[in-house]
């Protein structure tokens, strides 16, 4: 069984897994990191959205082999200890979540967007593909703008 080492939420980890095993199941079933959610398994609902070297990716379609030697950040690693990331704070302020299942992915997508585009336009926000079946989109938009305003 091949072995892969990467940095997960700031800590080095090594897993023995098939090279084509999606990162999502490595995280959830081997490392008990359950913040990233399964919603489709084909990279379209984006409930699992996490960061690979700071870029947003969908771990359900990223083979673990592609993560070797790189930095993986999940929702669990976004806050600095108890100090929430500005996007998480904005999410609380706007009380975005309903069922909450897609929100780790939404937050990671928003954090990645804000890293690239500090003041996203409505058109930038419209390009976020993450599905929210509860329909929290309007509050997501407000929260992203609030997080942007607070830098």
């Amino acid at each position: 069984m091949p072995s892969y080492s990467f940095v997960l939420n700031g800590k080095p980890v090594t897993v023995e897994a098939p090279s084509d095993m999606p990162l999502l199941w490595v995280l959830r079933d081997m490392l008990e990191v359950t913040g990233p959610k399964y919603g489709c398994g084909v990279g379209v609902c984006r409930a699992c959205t996490s960061h690979l070297d700071g870029e947003d990716v969908q771990p359900c379609v990223v083979p673990v082999a592609d993560c070797a030697g790189r930095e993986v950040t999940t929702i669990e690693g976004l806050a600095d200890g108890d100090e929430l990331h500005p996007v998480q704070r904005a999410w609380l302020d706007r009380d975005v979540a309903q069922c909450g299942f897609c929100q780790p992915g939404q937050i990671m997508a928003a954090a990645a967007l804000l890293k690239k585009t500090t003041h996203p336009t409505d058109a930038d926000i419209d390009r976020i593909e993450n599905v929210c079946r509860c329909g929290t989109y309007c509050r997501i938009r407000e929260a992203i703008k609030k997080a942007a305003a607070q830098g």
Binding site: W25, K37, G39, V42, V44, C45, F101, G135, Y137
Partner: protein, 725 residues
């Protein structure tokens, strides 16, 4: 619909315990269940009687020594915010900090009302929860008064403490043991009048919001139950297809595979991880026999539905007719969290963890499926990642139990998204024929005949199980569950457009037919109103047009109920009804009344490209009686708006030769951020009435408003939904 909750229905009693523990009976919902009055009488006991027992049939409140107020809730949290609303009711009456109130979900019980549905949770809990907390407060105050030898009436409560005039304070936790021994409180144990409310009615952030944003909220798939291995099922390409032959040798030989078992719905693989389970599933060589619907596609289903619509009667003599026919496609519930259940079935007992709106029925059905007595089956209710009615049924939990039994080990079953869309439940397709007869500028008769697909049970295997929420099970609380589901028949046969006669449309009538097909169906948020009332609101606009009247003005003069007119006026005013918009843009409006509540929705749409319309703005107004958490109510209206946008413009399921075409959110086109309005406003009407229902309320108004806006923007008459499909 507003019902007065009389105090005697909620006689609260105390449980013998070493900590303060009080309980309120939680019977059937008085608005829907016949005999609720009798049940309440039977449960009536003096409030100072100590009873030992469990929390069966009760809403139970415990104050722990650690200063937490714990209420095990016989409902499920699926995002609708019921745990936050109940925590607010408890915090209000106890003067506890919201952070000190914990609302865990109760395991399946054997008696009482443990039904989450029909938008009934807040209205059914509002009385008992407040009575309960008010009695607990009175006992805590009395205990403090005795400790300090002060008159109880001089003491106050705040921040989960009792406070004396001299500044002394004691936490509830420090008083709980002595409060448990208080039989006759020295202060009133009645809930506060609404004028004193400081928590109820205040916009409040969800109590689980922080856990959610940190990724700590736990759903069934996140549970670690000892030895429960990831499990998936290979399913047939067609609905109800059956495995004719299975060659599992290659799959069994793969690393990490623990078991392969055949079940009614397909072939299950139990493995070390979901990756191993999916890989082995794909290595199964299965020959499938097509299911019973194999020759059937959408066109044939549509024509059978059209043929099943009862004939409209003869219109009043001398009247002019506005007639329209509407078709609605099947729609998946598609909650973000796919169906997931952890099951540990042993020879003499079983334990199941999953998200259920009907855990009591689930336990009974699981027990019967695996051949154990109900008393040996424990069902733990887990928060759900969305539901929209999907978790009224417990197909996946039964399946997980059967797999665990066959594999002789605990399993964590997860349906894939393709499983969910292609073999999950759906809102039935329907066909509607509506005729408004008008004479001398008035509607003198209104008739609505419809037909929808109904589920044929006998042709199905395991997917026919888990249906007790649709009225097949006997047992306590069934009045509620049946009330939800049989409403279709009751409403279709009764006066329309709504049970109370929403509009002053003269003679109102309706009739319904059905086409029975072996496909998995289920109640979808707002149930039949989501199609019936949407279609009716479109006809109301078309009648207004044929009478040369403005849609808002026409509704204002024909609506019967002042409260409905008030929400209509609110949105018309707030959204500047009639304002000038660019070509291809338009406003649309619709109203709805149900669950003791009223709502209006006004949308603006940009349909300059009719195949790619964008709802740019949504303004809603709701009168739900007392809005316990206005922020939660706004969220429910927002979600309903997105449901309306999705089901009218984009999202549905196609049936191709007995199979569902869609397999993920790539083709099940539920709205994404770029389809959501750029602006959303919710106006909540002030009210001192008891709370009505709100979770499903907004769907028909939103769907109707979107369709009406699209019609006005494009000059078309929308007839088949979703429009871009």
């Amino acid at each position: 619909m507003a019902r007065q909750l009389s105090r005697r229905k909620f006689v609260v009693y105390s449980l013998a315990a070493s900590t303060l523990t009080v309980a309120a009976p939680l019977g059937c919902d008085a608005t829907t269940a016949e005999g609720a009055e009798a049940a309440a009488s039977a449960l009536r006991r003096p409030s100072d009687v100590l009873v030992t027992g469990t929390d069966e049939e009760m809403l139970v409140l415990e104050v722990t020594k650690a200063n937490k107020v714990v209420v095990r809730l016989p409902r499920v949290e699926v995002g609708q915010g019921v745990t936050t609303a109940v925590a607010m009711m408890i915090a209000e009456e106890l003067d506890a900090r919201l952070a000190d109130v914990d609302i865990p979900l109760a395991d399946a019980r054997t008696k009482g009302n443990q039904f989450t549905g029909g938008s009934s949770s807040v209205s059914s809990l509002y009385g008992p929860a407040r009575e309960l907390a008010a009695l607990a407060r009175a006992k805590l105050v009395t205990a403090a008064a005795r400790r300090w030898r002060l008159p109880a009436r001089t003491l106050k409560t705040r921040n989960t403490k009792v406070v004396a005039p001299d500044g002394r304070s004691a936490t509830f936790g420090s008083l709980t043991a002595s409060a448990a021994r208080i039989t006759r409180p020295a202060v009133s144990s009645r809930p506060k009048p609404a004028s004193k409310h400081r928590v109820i009615g205040k916009a409040t952030t969800r109590i689980d919001a922080r856990d959610i944003v940190m990724g700590k909220a736990v759903y069934a798939g996140d549970l670690t139950v000892a030895g429960a291995k990831p499990t998936v099922v290979a399913r047939p390409p067609t609905l109800g297809g059956k495995a004719v032959s299975v060659d599992s040798r290659a799959a069994r030989a793969m690393p990490g595979v623990h078991a392969v078992v055949e079940i009614a719905g397909g072939v299950a693989v139990v493995a070390d991880t979901f990756h191993h389970a999916f890989t082995a599933r794909d290595a199964l060589r299965i020959t499938w026999a097509p299911g019973p619907l194999a020759p059937l596609s959408d066109a044939a289903i549509r024509s059978r539905l059209r043929a099943a619509v009862p004939r409209l009667g003869t219109p009043p003599r001398g009247s002019t007719q506005t007639e329209a026919e509407f078709e609605f496609a099947f729609v998946s519930h598609a909650p973000m969290e796919v169906l997931t259940a952890v099951a540990d079935v042993r020879a003499t007992r079983a334990e199941i963890w999953f998200s259920s709106q009907t855990p009591m029925y689930a336990r009974d059905d699981i027990a019967s499926a695996i051949g154990l007595p109900e008393s040996k089956v424990k069902v733990h209710v887990v928060r759900g990642g969305g539901s929209f009615g999907r978790r009224l049924n417990h197909d996946a939990a039964i399946e997980a139990a059967l797999i665990s039994k066959a594999a002789r080990r605990p399993v964590k079953l997860m349906w894939s998204r393709a499983d969910d869309l292609q073999h999950g439940r759906m809102r039935p397709a329907s066909h509607h024929r509506i005729r408004a007869s008008h004479a001398r500028g008035r509607v003198v008769a209104f008739t609505h005949a419809m037909a929808s697909v109904t589920e044929a049970f006998e042709a199905q295997g395991s997917s026919a199980q888990g249906l007790s929420a649709q009225g097949t099970a006997e047992g306590p609380g069934q009045g509620l569950a049946q009330g939800l589901v049989t409403r279709t028949a009751a409403r279709a046969a009764g006066p329309l457009p709504s049970g109370s006669g929403l509009y002053n449309f003269g003679r109102v009538s309706g009739d319904s037919g059905s086409v029975e097909l072996a496909m998995p169906l289920g109640a979808w948020r707002s149930v039949d109103s989501g199609t019936m009332r949407t279609a009716e609101e479109i006809v109301v606009d078309e009648v207004a047009r044929s009478l040369g009247k403005d849609p808002v003005a026409f509704r204002r003069t024909t609506l019967r109920n002042k409260a409905v007119k008030a929400v209509l006026d609110k949105v018309a005013d707030a959204a500047h009804w009639g304002r000038t918009l660019p070509a291809g843009h338009a406003q649309g409006v619709a109203v709805h009344e149900e669950y003791g509540s009223r709502v209006a929705c006004l949308v603006e749409i940009d349909a300059a490209d009719p195949e790619n319309p964008r709802v740019t703005k949504v303004v809603m107004a709701a009168d739900v009686g007392t809005a316990v958490n206005p922020r939660g109510l706004e969220a429910q209206l927002m979600g309903a708006a997105i449901d309306g946008i999705s089901t009218v413009l984009r999202a549905g399921l196609h049936i191709d030769e007995g199979a569902v075409r869609e397999s993920s959110y790539a083709d099940f086109a539920y709205a994404r951020q770029r389809h959501a309005p750029l602006r959303f406003e919710a106006h909540i009407m002030p009210s001192r009435r008891e709370p009505g229902g709100a979770g499903e309320l907004g769907v028909p108004a939103a769907a109707g408003a979107v369709a009406n806006a699209y019609a006005r923007a494009t000059g078309t008459r929308p007839r088949r939904f979703p429009l871009n499909f």
